[in-house]
């Protein structure tokens, strides 16, 4: 190989890299700019939808108070920049009518984010609404589109053992809602199990806190 061909070889490698780097830089810049520009719009829409979803799973609720958790897990009233984690709903006369818990976890294609409502007695669910999901259109989307299935979450009793210890909700065919069972849907196994798992995790995290502090949170004092 002569020096000249070596040089062209090296030159062409450098040129290839330069072109790739240049394209990647411009691409990255464009994506970052548009991301920065659209993020506030997306966040505002999502925030509004979360509140709307929370009201829809707390029957009788007219307005709500939003809580978030500190690093040590203690709930406090949520500020503008905080991620809403718990809604306490109040009726027109200011009585607490329930709680709505925001929970998320992996679905079939992407994270599923949902809100589910808890009766003030903390013994049954009052509804469930999926806020964000990217499940397969026409298959996994039953978790948002199957009205009957979504409605069944307004009637699910939480399962407790003899000591009052919370048990997990389970997925079953012909589910007995009063025994803490979620109805299975043929073809959407993954999405239905995902929703159930997400609710179980949300309950496990929040039920102990709510048992201790529901009255306090509903009274508006800091936990």
């Amino acid at each position: 190989m002569t020096d000249e061909t070596k040089l062209t070889g090296l030159g062409s490698v450098l040129r290839i890299q330069a072109v790739l780097v240049a394209i990647a830089l411009v691409a990255g810049l464009a994506i970052a700019t548009v991301h920065e520009w659209t993020r506030p719009m997306v966040m505002a829409q999502r925030g509004g939808q979360l509140g709307e979803a929370a009201l829809s799973v707390m029957p009788g609720a007219e307005h709500y108070r939003i809580y978030t958790r500190d690093a040590d897990g203690i709930p406090r009233l949520s500020g503008d920049d905080d991620r809403p984690e718990l809604f306490i709903g109040f009726d027109a006369r200011g009585r607490a009518v329930g709680a709505a818990i925001v929970a998320s976890g992996m679905g079939y294609a992407d994270t599923i984010e949902l809100v589910f409502g808890l009766h003030p007695e903390l013994d049954r669910l009052t509804g469930m609404r999926v806020v964000a999901a990217r499940e397969t259109p026409g298959i996994g989307t039953v978790i948002t589109d199957d009205a009957g299935w979504v409605e069944s979450f307004t009637r699910i009793q939480l399962p407790f053992d003899g000591q009052g210890q919370l048990q997990e909700l389970r997925v079953r065919d012909n589910a007995r809602l009063e025994a803490g069972e979620v109805d299975a849907i043929t073809g959407a196994t993954v999405s239905v199990f995902a929703v159930t798992r997400i609710i179980n995790r949300g309950l496990a995290e929040w039920l102990p806190i709510l048992r201790e502090e529901f009255d306090q949170l509903a009274g508006g004092r800091r936990g």
Binding site: L20, I23, V34, H35, V42, Q49, A109, D110, P137, G138
Partner: protein, 213 residues
């Protein structure tokens, strides 16, 4: 690449525009990009958004890649194509999320999957990387429009039979029982098959008439 091409192989822009619409329709003739075609054609509005997103990604990528065709080294052309296509897909994804959150949810992962839509890659490799910007752009426009025509027809038929509605408003009589299968992927296959049969018959009849005329 462009320079080694024979003049006779070059086609005019308007010719390419027409080709995408009918003779080389990406859905009905070339059967390219079938993944979104079958998955998100359950309603007309999903099909319309998906095809507009795909068409704009194709058009933008074709223009950019065609203008850079003498700069992009042939050894890494595919890497460059995918990088540029992925950028436009991400931008489209972000914009749809900001302006139409509900639609963004309905289309789910299929929006990001436009990156690997083989219709786009094939148009880029065949046309945009070898032809001047004007021809590449018209070709992309024709293919994008042809894709949209196929997808929206499919989506409208499936929505009509699967939900009894069209673009969300009720058109079928109240006693119409929706065909559940049309909402499922299987319905996509049936409708696509029917469409392709219809298209082929029509196309043949038209050609025969052309020959006899």
């Amino acid at each position: 690449m462009a320079d080694t091409m024979l003049a006779s192989e070059r086609e005019s822009g308007p010719e390419r525009l027409r080709a995408g619409l009918w003779r080389e329709n990406p859905i009905l003739v070339q059967a390219l990009g079938m993944c979104p075609v079958l998955a998100v054609s359950n309603t007309a509005i999903n099909a319309l958004t998906m095809s507009l997103a795909t068409a704009s990604v194709l058009l933008a990528s074709a223009i950019v890649i065609s203008s850079l065709r003498r700069i992009i080294p042939p050894q890494v052309r595919l890497a460059c194509f995918v990088l540029i296509i992925a950028t436009f897909v991400t931008l489209t994804d972000l914009l749809i999320e900001a302006f139409a959150l509900e639609l963004h949810r309905a289309l789910g992962a299929f929006l990001s999957l436009i990156v690997v839509n083989c219709m786009i890659l094939s148009r880029i490799e065949i046309m945009a990387s070898r032809q001047p910007v004007s021809v590449a752009a018209l070709d992309a426009l024709g293919m994008g429009a042809g894709f949209a025509i196929g997808l929206v027809t499919l989506g409208s038929l499936r929505e009509l039979l699967g939900f009894g509605t069209l673009f969300g408003s009720r058109v079928m009589p109240d006693n119409f029982e929706p065909w559940q299968v049309m909402q499922l992927p299987g319905g996509g296959f049936f409708t696509l098959a029917a469409l392709v049969i219809g298209f082929t018959l029509l196309d043949r009849r038209m050609r025969r008439r052309e020959v006899s005329a």
